[in-house]
């Protein structure tokens, strides 16, 4: 009787989960469908299909500029955030020091902060300081939000790090630098890699912070938004689909690389049977 009820609720939960995942992907499927529609204004079911918008988008010089700007911002944000957040995460989860609990809370505040308001505050801040906004200021703005997130992600790994590993290496004669290179960095590598992936993709897709801080430069999400509100062109779903598939390919490549590394490590770590 009870196991019957269990099975029913298990089925219901599974069905519900699948339904919600479909709900999460529905709009993305809609964007991809729209990108293959010949009509200037989308209608469903799609009467005529085309790949014309892809050719046009890929040939457009302004799109190349957009992609280049987005890529530069995301790449720089990733490198800088990972370095700052690595030490931040050590302070968050590895070391015990007076003031740590306060630091933990303060450093997470930007995550809880409305991004649009943060973007506007930074716009004012730059103008008061006399800094001309450009894609570089957007890097700074993105990092305010992304560094705390990466700290959080890396901390999860740092918490499970046994400090005795560092002490053991030190005890065995390693210098501080050798301890970092030989033990701390390699053991924390999975956390660092996932932090970097999140940093890159969150910067790549960010809109509210970019909107107010890129000045004359424009990232892909900004351009998409501006064309959605005025001057709609079917290049919106097309470029949208392209960036989505870019993100998907990126995640897939990382995932495959991960599998390869894990497999190599397993091979390396398995002693021959004899």
């Amino acid at each position: 009787m009870s196991s019957q009820a269990n099975r029913t609720s298990r089925t219901l939960i599974t069905v519900w989960t699948v339904a919600v995942i479909v709900f999460l992907y529905l709009p993305m499927i809609a964007v991809v469908l729209a990108s293959f529609s010949r009509q200037r204004y989308f209608r469903f079911p799609i009467p005529r299909w085309t790949t014309e918008w892809y050719t046009r988008t890929l040939e457009s010089l302004s799109v190349r500029d957009l992609l280049w700007t987005s890529l530069s911002v995301a790449a720089l944000v990733t490198v800088l955030s990972v370095v700052l957040a690595f030490f931040g995460a050590l302070a968050f989860a590895r070391y015990d020091w007076k003031g740590r609990k306060v630091y933990q809370r303060l450093v997470l505040l930007p995550i809880f902060f409305p991004q649009a308001v943060l973007g506007l505050a930074l716009l004012l801040w730059f103008s008061v300081l006399g800094v001309t906004t450009s894609w570089q200021t957007a890097v700074f703005a993105h990092m305010i939000w992304i560094v705390p997130i990466v700290i959080l992600i890396m901390s999860i790994q740092v918490y499970s790090f046994d400090p005795a590993l560092e002490e053991a290496a030190f005890d065995l004669g390693a210098t501080r630098w050798q301890v970092l290179r030989e033990v701390t960095l390699p053991v924390l590598a999975p956390g660092i890699v996932s932090g970097a992936i999140f940093a890159f993709l969150l910067s790549w897709g960010n809109f509210p912070l970019s909107l107010f801080t890129t000045g004359a430069d424009q990232t892909v999400p900004e351009w998409l938004y501006s064309k959605m509100v005025s001057g709609y062109t079917p290049m919106v779903p097309t470029l949208g689909s392209l960036t989505m598939s870019g993100a998907a390919v990126f995640i897939l490549v990382i995932y495959l690389a991960w599998l390869a590394v894990a497999a190599r490590r397993r091979r390396q770590m398995t002693a021959p049977d004899d």
Partner: protein
């Protein structure tokens, strides 16, 4: 005196403090600084761009006597509705991920997290395509049943849909952490002691999962409260939310002090809630499972 200075120096030399410094200085410059400045502007006379004027509370008075309460009320209401809808939507999934799905839970996690990495406004634009006249919803209904359902877009329900959609992962993941903190044996013990399913949920699960529920609820509430894109892309001109008002004060109206006051009020509201949350939870326990 010299002893306290010595204490300060030795505090600074701890590895934890040294490691905290880079990020702390960066956030001081890029987060605390701008916020202090916004706070300063909120006391400047209307429409000034200088921080050197004699301070005044004029802006606060004008904001309270003006009709800004409308956008505030909309923001708070929609944020509350979002949280109330997200909790029952996410709880069963979170329960499944924490207790039932086993190795499939990783797949669900990835599937829910991937959309987070795709620009919010592309995904919201997808909803425009679904809801728009002759779009996916309308077009399907016309083809299948011959009924038309135009007018879905640019309405309050469309904004709520957008908020629920965008912030779903922010409710789901904290709930998963919260629920996985409940040891299975406790529920078995409760059931052994004669508790019904509903009693187990109310007496055991809910209180023990509370840190996760609080984080999820407050995170989604605050993010929805300060949201901008949902109401602009899906709501059209249907309503104005507080972030719209702040944006237009800073940009079109060029009234920085007024925008600053609205920001300060929004920050204060979010800040009180976050403060209450942080007092109740232990981050070491939740993130580090200690």
């Amino acid at each position: 005196m010299s002893a306290s200075r010595h204490d300060r120096v030795s505090w600074l030399r701890q590895p934890g403090v040294l490691a905290a410094l880079p990020a702390a200085i960066f956030l001081l410059l890029g987060f605390a600084g701008p916020l202090a400045m916004v706070f300063g502007y909120s006391f400047m006379p209307p429409k000034t761009f200088s921080l050197m004027q004699p301070p005044t509370v004029e802006n606060y008075i004008s904001v309270f006597t003006d009709s800004y309460y409308i956008s505030f009320t909309w923001s708070v209401t929609l944020a509350a509705i979002t949280v109330l809808l997200l909790f029952p939507i996410c709880y069963p999934i979170a329960y499944g991920m924490a207790k039932l799905f086993g190795k499939w839970a990783t797949l669900v996690t990835v599937l829910v997290a991937v959309p987070l990495l795709i620009s919010e406004n592309i995904r919201l634009f997808g909803w425009v395509l679904v809801l728009v006249k002759n779009g996916i919803a309308d077009g399907s209904l016309q083809t299948l049943f011959g009924v038309s359902m135009s007018g879905l877009l640019y309405s309050v329900p469309a904004i709520v849909l957008g908020l629920v959609y965008v912030y779903l992962p922010f409710m789901l993941f904290p709930l998963v952490i919260g629920i996985s903190m409940i040891p299975d044996t406790l529920k078995e013990a409760a059931s052994d002691l004669g508790a019904s399913r509903w009693q187990i949920f109310r007496e055991i699960e809910l209180p023990l999962a509370m840190p996760g529920i609080l984080i999820g609820g407050i995170l989604t509430f605050i993010l929805a409260l300060g949201s901008l894109a949902e109401s602009k892309i899906l709501g059209g001109q249907a309503i104005v939310m507080i972030a719209d008002d702040i944006e237009s004060s800073f940009t079109f109206a060029q009234n920085w002090p007024k925008g600053a006051v609205l920001s300060v009020l929004l920050i204060a509201l979010s800040g009180i809630i976050v403060y209450a949350l942080f007092r109740r939870i232990d981050l070491d326990q939740i993130i580090g499972r200690r």
